[in-house]
Assembly symmetry: C2
Homo-oligomer: 343 residues x 2
DNA sequence: CTGAAAGCGCTTACAG
DNA sequence: CTGAAAGCGCTTACAG
C-alpha cells in the first residue's frame, strides 16, 4: 500500500531526483537515452505524480479578478455572492479572489476595468462581456500582458478570450420556445419577448433561438416585436403594462433578460398572473416565488455556484497547462418548474 | 504577497510548530492560555491553513469501493464508466477507487458484498441500495467496522448510511406529472406508469410524487395501474404492447424506471411514436435518440459524473471531519427537452 | 547534460 | 503541557 514516488522512479532509473523531475515536466536538456530510462522506470513501477505535493513545491499561487456588473440585477448579485464565498474557500487552495464592480451595459467601463488589471499580480480575469466596440481589443491587450481572460454568462465569440463559462444561449432560446409552445398549445394567438439589451450577446442569442423554433414549429403563433427593457424593473413593468393593455389576448411571454419583479407586477395589475404562460431566466428569489404561486410556468437557469467554480478551475488549469474535464465544465441549461424547485 | 504559514503563527505566539499544530487541530493537552496565545496570533496575522500541504504531511490516502449493479441497465453503465474515469483522475489526489459489480434487485447479494468489504482497507463504500430485508442491518455492520457507507441513486431512509447521493425522487415524480399534465392538456383520458421494481425506493418515491400531482391537479386524467417491468427491455416491450392494444386512446406514459429501448420499440410497433406523450428518466443514448426524433417529450436526469464526484468528495470530507458545500453536493433533477440536449 | 541539497507548509513521533 | 527534528512528495536554484 505504499505510494510510488519520485524517489522510487529515480532509484529504478538510476538517475537523480532532479532528472526525474526534468522528464516528468518535459523540460529541455535531457539526453534521449536518459528520458528513455526514466519513462521506462515510470511505466515499470506504475508511478503517478501527486499533484498536491507538486503544487506545494512549486509555491504556486493563483490570483483571480472577477469584474461583475453593479446594480440591482438579482442574478448578478447571486454571482457576486458565490464569488465571495468561493474567495473564503479557495484561500485554502492557494487561490486569491478579488471582486471589482463595474457599471452594467457599459462597454467603455469594462474596457477601463480590463486595462486596469495589474498584469504582474493576476493570473486571470473573469468578466461578463458586453459586446461593445473595442472590447475585443481590450481582451487582446489583456492576453498580451499575460493574464488569462474568461468570459462569464455572456460571451464575445471570435475574441481571444481563453474560455467562455456559460450556457449555449441559442439552445436556451430554443428550449424556451419548445416549452412555451407546448404550454399554450392548442390555442393560437400572440406571444411576446422581453429582452434586456441587444448589446449583450446572450440576449441576442436567446432571441435568435426562440424565434427559430417558433417560426419552424409554431407558425400558428404570432411573435410581437421584442421589447428592450434594459434589465430594469420599472422599465419592464411599464413596457409590459402597455403590452397587456394593447394585447389583452396575449398567450405567453418569454422574458429572456432579468427584471422579473417588474414583469410580475404588471401581470398582477392586469389580473393575468397564471393566465398568461411565462417562461423566464434565472432562478432568483422573485422567480422562485412566481413559480410557486403559478405566475411563472418555467425558469431556465444557469447555476451560479457552478459557473464561479468552473471559472476558477479553468483558470488554474490553463495557468498550469494541465487539462480539465469538459464534461464537468459545461454549464447546463437547467429547467425549473414549481415541482423541482428545491432540488 | 508572501503566504502566512504556521511558522509565522509560531513566531508571533512564541510557541513551537508542534503547539500551533495542536491548537489548529484541536488536540488535547494544551494549556488554555497557550491556546489563547495561538488563536490570537492566528487572528492577528490572518493565517489560513494550506489544506494540500496538510494532506501531504498527514500521508492521508482514501480508498473507496463502488458496488454497482451489473446487467444491461444503460444508466448503471454510465455510472460505472464515470467511476472508472474518476479512478484514473483521483489517483493523483491520493484516492484509490475500486469498482465491484453485483447483481441488480438482489438484496442478499448486496448484503454479501457489503459484508465482504475489507474494513481495514476501505475508507468508504458507495452503493445503490435495494431496500430489501436486512440491508439496513448490513449497513449498521459496515458502520461499526469503521467504513463510511454512502447510498447512491436509491436510498434507504432511516438506515445509518452517512449520506445519500441522488435526487429527491418524490419531487422527480411530481415534476414528471407537471410536465405530462401540461403536455396532454386540454385533452382528457388515460395515463400510464411503467416502473422497474417496487423494491427500489427511488421507483416507489417517483410513483408517489407522480400520483400526488396527478390526483390534485389533473383529476380529469385517469391513472392506469402501474406496470412493473424490472428495468428489462423485453418485459417492458411486451407489457407496453399489451397496454397500447388495450388502451388505444392512451394519452401519455411516465416511464419511471430504466429500459427505454423496450418502450420505444412498443410505441413504434403501434405507430404511436410522437402521438403518445412520454416522460422518462435518465439521459442514455436511447433517450437522446428518442428525444431527437420526437418519440419522447422530456427526460428527467440525474447527472452521473456529478453523482460519482459528489460521492467521492463526501467520503473524503466525512473521513477528514471537514465540512462540504451542501449546494455543490445537492443532485438536481435535470429536465431535458430536444432543445437543451447538448448542453 | 546531471546531481546533491534545501525548501514548500504542514504533521508526527519522540523526548523532556 | 511543550519543543526540536524529521518527513510527506515534489521542485528549484546552484554547482559541476
Amino acid at each position: 500500500m505504499k505510494r510510488v514516488t519520485v524517489h522510487d522512479v529515480a532509484a529504478e532509473a538510476k538517475v537523480s531526483l532532479a532528472t526525474v523531475d526534468r522528464v516528468l515536466n518535459g523540460r529541455q536538456g535531457v539526453k534521449a537515452t536518459t528520458i528513455e530510462k526514466v519513462t521506462h522506470a515510470i511505466e515499470k513501477i506504475g508511478f503517478t505524480r501527486d499533484t498536491q505535493a507538486a503544487n506545494l513545491a512549486k509555491r504556486r499561487v493563483y490570483r483571480i479578478c472577477f469584474l461583475l456588473p453593479s446594480g440591482d440585477n438579482a442574478f448578478m448579485q447571486m454571482l457576486k455572492q458565490e464569488a465571495e464565498s468561493a474567495a473564503d474557500i479557495e484561500v485554502r487552495n492557494r487561490t486569491q479572489i478579488e471582486i471589482r464592480e463595474i457599471p452594467p451595459f457599459d462597454g467603455p467601463a469594462l474596457i477601463k476595468a480590463l486595462d486596469a488589471i495589474e498584469a504582474d499580480q493576476f493570473t486571470g480575469v473573469v468578466f461578463v462581456a458586453s459586446d461593445a466596440p473595442h472590447v475585443k481589443q481590450a481582451i487582446e491587450r489583456i492576453v498580451e500582458r499575460g493574464v488569462i481572460p474568461i468570459t462569464l454568462v455572456s460571451d464575445i465569440p471570435g475574441s481571444s478570450r481563453a474560455h467562455f463559462v456559460g450556457i449555449d444561449n441559442v439552445a436556451a432560446g430554443r428550449t424556451a420556445a419548445s416549452l412555451l409552445g407546448r404550454f399554450v398549445r392548442p390555442q393560437t394567438g400572440k406571444v411576446a419577448v422581453v429582452a434586456g439589451s441587444m448589446l449583450l450577446r446572450d440576449h441576442v442569442d436567446r432571441r435568435f433561438g426562440f424565434e427559430q423554433v417558433m417560426r419552424e414549429e409554431y407558425p400558428e403563433l404570432t411573435l410581437l416585436p421584442v421589447l428592450e427593457a434594459r434589465d430594469d424593473n420599472a422599465t419592464t413593468e411599464s413596457l409590459v403594462n402597455t403590452l397587456l393593455t394593447e394585447h389583452p389576448d396575449l398567450l405567453g411571454i418569454y422574458n429572456l433578460g432579468a427584471a422579473k419583479r417588474g414583469l410580475v407586477a404588471a401581470l398582477k395589475q392586469h389580473q393575468l398572473a397564471g393566465k398568461v404562460r411565462i417562461v423566464a431566466h434565472d432562478l432568483t428569489d422573485d422567480a422562485r416565488e412566481a413559480l410557486c404561486d403559478g405566475t411563472f410556468d418555467a425558469i431556465l437557469n444557469q447555476d451560479p455556484p457552478h459557473q464561479i467554480r468552473s471559472a476558477i478551475r479553468i483558470i488554474r488549469a490553463l495557468a498550469d497547462g494541465t487539462s480539465f474535464l469538459e464534461s464537468q465544465e459545461r454549464i447546463r441549461i437547467d429547467i425549473f418548474l414549481r415541482d423541482n424547485l428545491n432540488t
